[in-house]
Symmetry: C2
């Protein structure tokens, strides 16, 4: 099997604007091109577009707009983990030899579909993800004594981290009081416990080892991949205080890479809601089950930016199809030592955790410098 | 690199009905399961859904409805060649070792988006594919003397072939007179020169050599893959009497498989319009450039079912996301000797040609028994 690297990255400022989806995607692609050495359009033989937008043929449109004539081009959709699904697909193309250099670009706008899973609505189940967030939060509280204050630590920490990320949606910090008193949306879920749908795009270039050396001096290697789908509706989860798909995905990713949680220096964790970071830390082995809140408090108290240095989804915003790719961009920059003020010292091994729809599917990636 | 096989197939009757997309997809998956030996849900570790429908998370929904808990699941979209894009993706997953057994299922309904490329409309270009069909047809007529009668041969032949395909949309033959006098839609394009958007689904199971032997005694091997995107808008094509993306794709597929047109026993050719079969035959080396019409007449006169035995898109119908997979199903059945009345004698090597949006992208596959 061929080794697969990420060799160039681009990301837009996450915001809300009138700019159309194509233009946002194109901005990320342009920045990606600028980050690669001697990189030209004809080097690229596949283009995968990750989005929840109802935009037929968008991978081909972006190819034409970018001056790329790829062999392979299509879009990939899996709600909030569309981005990492595209990346894993790119890995498969390169590893199998069908492609050498794959552009993966993801984008969504704040009002794109995908925030609400219509299938659940059609079954009279849930009209918005805040309801599953509410149930996960309440279940974890009952089982492990997690408190609203613990959740506020996640929110305050990640919004604080976002202050050193110029591409983040939020550019101000929130106090504990701000979070505790922010509008209560549903049981145990406040406005500042929720990530913000917004506009944004991110792009990465995935390629074979041979090509990698020509494009960058600091390739990031994809050494572990794990993916798991448990269902399409979170009600199939037996235990709402856990995220089963994440547990399976991280096990696969650790096994493939030969790494454990102890080896990981930096983590992008899918904190769609505050509770996700607490459960995610537990599922991925960064603490024992039930001790996620304690770990979050400790990270905050020691100013440790290891978890969600760019601010996570809570601080950076959540443009669905871009999110997984933006997480990968961040870990690549951390491993390449180019993360600026938010640099985690001597980061060599990173983890990306990206999930969808009440953790009914998860992707976990191990990346190494 | 691991060898990759197709080991089970399922397809629905192509029609127009009130059945929702999920149910149509599920019917094809059920038939696929019935065609495999000792095949169970837990054998499947990836589910790829090919559709133009705006249905978030459909791969996960189909997984849950089918009782499958895959590692990998997402949807793939590339207009009319979404189906073969999914299949090539499945090949990459298996070949790379990320998956062993991949379910690929495609479906669309007659009124799903994708028939018209909104991007072209937004640029004031073309409101319907019949316009590019018209321009391709007229260009080929001018350059090679192709006639309206030649086009009628394609339509009559493929509708005739569909008579021995119980899953085809059309179940009646059309005379030359019927075609020649069918409603003129735009210059040189008549109603019976156009494939019919309809409802339909098709499913295939793609797997590694090791798994293949457990599921079927007659695996079909994917020995050649070619894909090419030239643009997202056919106006970038320099020569409207040719299909550049198909030429590149078939060259790649022949090179990978070591086969040539002479080795091919049966072909599924993307005859979205009559002119596509004539140009496609030329581009894929079944005759010299400009002699496609002559070949089509000869096929008809000798009752040779080698090209589009199930009736092609013209006779079988064109449910966009299902089409590429339905083509693969047909070639698998031909190579397995189970194509019934439409069986091409002693077929060992098959070709699938699937394209999108005025031939701006093409996939060509070589399949072997």
């Amino acid at each position: 099997m061929r080794k697969v690297a990420i060799v160039a990255t681009g990301i837009t400022k996450f915001d809300k604007s009138e700019r159309p989806l194509d233009m946002i995607m194109l901005s990320a692609v342009k920045k990606m091109f600028e980050s690669g050495k001697n990189l030209e359009q004809h080097d690229i033989d596949a283009v995968l577009a990750s989005t929840n937008a109802n935009r037929n043929y968008i991978a081909n449109i972006i190819s034409e707009l970018s001056g790329i004539k790829p062999k392979i081009s299509h879009s990939v959709e899996s709600l909030c983990n569309s981005g990492t699904n595209s990346l894993v697909s790119a890995y498969a193309y390169v590893s199998s030899g069908l492609a050498d250099v794959v552009l993966v670009v993801g984008a969504d706008k704040a009002n794109n579909p995908g925030l609400v899973l219509n299938w659940d609505m059609s079954r009279g189940e849930y009209t918005h993800p805040i309801f599953w967030s509410s149930m996960f939060t309440s279940a974890h509280m009952r089982k492990y004594g997690t408190s609203l204050e613990d959740l506020a630590y996640v929110s305050v920490k990640n919004h604080d981290n976002a202050l050193s990320n110029p591409d983040a949606f939020f550019d101000k910090s929130f106090s504990f009081d701000d979070v505790m008193k922010s509008k209560n949306l549903t049981e145990n879920v406040r406005l500042l416990d929720c990530s913000m749908p917004c506009d944004g795009a991110a792009a990465i270039l995935v390629c074979s080892e041979e090509k990698a050396r020509k494009i960058t001096d600091t390739p990031v290697w994809i050494s572990g991949i794990g993916q798991q789908t448990t269902s399409a509706s979170f009600t199939k989860n037996n235990d709402l205080s856990s995220m089963e798909s994440t547990r399976h995905a991280v096990t696969q990713a650790y096994n493939m890479s030969g790494k454990t949680a102890d080896d990981v220096d930096v983590v992008e964790l899918h904190d769609a809601f505050s509770i996700c970071e607490i459960i995610g830390l537990e599922e991925m082995g960064f603490c024992k089950k039930g001790e996620g809140s304690k770990l979050v408090r400790s990270l905050y108290d020691t100013c440790d930016k290891k978890i969600n240095p760019r601010g996570g989804l809570l601080g950076a915003g959540h443009p669905l199809g871009a999110t997984g790719i933006a997480q990968v961009v961040e870990v690549c920059r951390q491993l390449g030592g180019s993360a600026g003020k938010r640099q985690v010292p001597a980061a060599k091994t990173g983890l990306v955790h990206n999930m969808s729809a009440g953790a009914t599917s998860s992707t976990v990636l191990v990346l190494e410098s």
